[in-house]
């Protein structure tokens, strides 16, 4: 069906879209511009539009040899380690979540177990609770058992963020796979484990790639867990905050750090988008 629109309606609708885009793009563009400016230029009012861009801020972030020496003072900055930390923690969280979450999702989708819906809702409930709910009791426990400021401890506690998502997403993806297909495989002589390996997992792949991407981003952007439960193994979000020194605020360096932090998810989304295709199960039944 085609709906006819007048030119003026079109104009107004496009205007709304434009406004939304502007609102979203503004801080992003501001940060990118800021990261290319000198410290002095950042603080001027009204803001300068024309300036000579510099990569100095990015050098400060990564130039370990000169360890934070800037043209306008020295800051202690080591940005490589937090990036590595974030990669290890986020990636590790995704892998562990997949390992435990997908089987859990399968059971919740396919098997009749007592209190199934309650268990599922309890798991989902963690998505509603503030993360600090688990952080505060864990803080002293982690210190006592030596998990404070370790990758293992961090990946473990990040499951609060990532595991519920994987369980729920994989459950709904598995429910989308017609049960007939699994039963057909059983009739064809496949034992339950082989049904999962040969039939369920291949059909789940596109969904799981998408879900993994999503929870990687959730883990990557998490702040509160790292702030409280780590110091040397702190993720990149925490490291950004540390650039806010009590004396001088190195805004352009922070901006550069933000740009770097954003780039990794952006790259992942661009690569992963191709895999987000749905509807692979089309054609299986009817």
């Amino acid at each position: 069906m085609r709906i006819k629109r007048t030119t003026s309606t079109n104009l107004i609708l496009n205007l709304f879209v434009g406004i939304c885009a502007l609102i979203l793009v503004f801080p992003l563009a501001w940060i990118v511009i800021m990261s290319l400016k000198q410290q002095a230029e950042v603080m001027t009012w009204p803001p300068t539009v024309l300036f000579v861009p510099t990569l100095e801020n990015f050098r400060v972030l990564f130039d370990v040899a000169q360890a934070g020496a800037t043209s306008y003072g020295t800051i202690k900055v080591d940005f490589l380690t937090p990036i590595a930390n974030s990669v290890v923690i986020a990636l590790g969280s995704v892998i562990i979540s997949l390992l435990f979450g997908v089987p859990a999702g399968y059971v919740l989708a396919r098997r009749d177990i007592p209190l199934k819906e309650d268990i599922a809702f309890f798991i989902l409930g963690f998505r509603f609770a503030p993360v600090l709910l688990v952080v505060i009791p864990l803080f002293s426990i982690f210190q006592a058992i030596g998990l404070y400021d370790t990758y293992v401890g961090m990946i473990w506690v990040y499951q609060v963020v990532t595991l519920p998502m994987i369980v729920w997403l994989s459950r709904s993806y598995i429910e989308d796979i017609p049960k007939d297909i699994e039963e057909a495989a059983a009739m064809d002589g496949a034992k339950p484990v082989r049904v999962v390996l040969h039939i369920v997992l291949p059909l789940l792949k596109p969904g799981l790639i998408g879900a993994s991407l999503l929870i990687f981003l959730l883990a990557w952007h998490n702040f509160a867990l790292g702030l409280i439960l780590s110091s040397t193994k702190a993720p990149v979000t925490v490291a950004l905050l540390k650039l806010l020194n009590p004396g001088v605020q190195f805004y352009p360096v922070m901006a550069a750090g933000l740009v770097v932090t954003m780039i990794i998810p952006v790259i992942l989304i661009v690569i992963g988008q191709r895999h987000l295709e749905r509807g692979l199960t089309f054609g299986a039944v009817k």
Binding site: A184, G189, R194, L280, A284, K286
Partner: protein, 370 residues
């Protein structure tokens, strides 16, 4: 050789009974059709034989071995699903090969078998396609092919044709019947379509509300229905049911007087106790003739509502008293439209059903025994 035997098999979901006390023996090479309305438990029964549903009580034997607790994967049966249930991520070739891969058959032998089955079902040109690139009929053939790859002892079909259009359904029906002749395996086929049941089966099992109503050959079920339900379910258009009561019972049968007025003496096993009881007389639309050939024939006067011309046959829809009746119009000159028409039927073609739905057993084999 593959016999399937069900002994007092029960199925319940929680406290809700689905199937009750099912006793059934299926011989090697037989084509058995489970037929019944939806909710009759026919699919559940098939899935229990396949191992996809747990058996709540009783024993299921395949080749004289109790298989109640044997996994579906180990029963060596082939199944075709209503939805086809092809593996969407695999090509037709991989779909066909899957059962043999699971059985760890050597690659070379799998390839030979795939080629063999593909040519049998005329799907050789589709081997490298994915299921989503196939039409309904092609998917159906692939699903059948996959089911027969392992040369299973028994084939199970769960309403395999209900997703196809009418033309294709008739074609596939013939193909499956041919396949049965070629392979000679035991086949169990579930359908709600009595035409499929009548045309394909060696033996029909009619199910209703989780009970077996009747087991028999298509001919048996058509001519000697054990209950009013079976009589109404088998045959199209449906058997006519006319209410009346029994006036007398004797060795040659019972005398019935219909509410519409007519009297007839029907040759069935009878009982003095039945005299005076209400009874339902059943006559198939095909069993009417224009005028009474014998004086024992039952005569019915019909108020014609409308006439349906189907080409080879014409059906008259009308009323006898307050009850509606469908009759095949006797040749040569079918009535043109509304009016009155007198029809007759031989007592030997009449069925009698008691108020509990059971049929009174007929004294003679039907006259038109084929």
């Amino acid at each position: 050789m593959a016999h399937v035997r069900l002994e007092d098999v029960n199925k319940a979901y929680g406290t809700i009974p689905i199937l009750r006390n099912i006793d059934l023996a299926i011989d090697h090479g037989e084509f058995v059709v489970f037929v019944g309305p939806s909710g009759s438990g026919k699919s559940t029964l098939l899935r229990m034989i396949g191992g996809l549903e747990r058996i709540s009580g009783g024993r299921l034997l395949i080749d004289n071995k109790v298989v109640n607790d044997v996994d579906a994967a180990d029963r060596n049966l082939g199944m075709v699903f209503q939805s086809y249930a092809l593996y969407p991520h695999m090509t037709v070739r991989e779909n066909l090969a899957f059962p043999l891969r699971m059985a760890k058959v050597a690659r070379a032998r799998i390839d030979i078998r795939v080629a063999e089955i593909a040519s049998l079902l005329q799907i050789a040109h589709l081997l490298d396609r994915k299921p989503r690139q196939l039409s309904g009929g092609q998917r159906q053939r692939v699903a059948i092919g996959r089911a027969i790859m392992r040369e299973p002892k028994v084939f199970l079909f769960d309403e395999p044709l209900s997703n196809l259009d009418t033309d294709l359904r008739v074609q596939m029906r013939v193909q499956i019947a041919k396949l049965h002749k070629q392979l000679g395996n035991t086949m169990i086929y579930v359908t709600h379509d009595q035409v499929e049941a009548m045309t394909m089966a060696d033996k029909i099992v009619v199910l209703k509300d989780g009970n077996i109503e009747q087991v028999g050959s298509p001919h048996d079920l058509y001519h000697n229905p054990a209950s009013r339900f079976v009589a109404g379910f088998i045959g199209s258009p449906k058997m006519n049911f006319l209410n009346g009561h029994i006036e007398a019972a004797h060795d040659a049968g019972v005398d019935v007087k219909l509410d519409a007025g007519a009297r007839v003496s029907v040759p069935v096993h009878s009982d003095e106790l039945l005299v005076g009881k209400p009874i339902t007389l059943g006559i198939r639309p095909d069993d009417f003739s224009r005028s009474a050939a014998e004086k024992t024939d039952i005569g019915i006067e019909l108020d014609v509502d409308f006439v349906e011309h189907l080409g080879s046959v014409t059906y008259i829809y009308g009323r006898a008293g307050r009850e509606s009746v469908v009759a095949k119009a006797p040749k040569p000159e079918p009535p043109k439209g509304a009016g009155k028409v007198r029809l007759a039927a031989s007592p030997a073609d009449c069925h009698l059903f008691m108020t509990n739905g059971r049929a009174l057993r007929r004294l003679h084999a039907p006259a038109n025994w084929s």
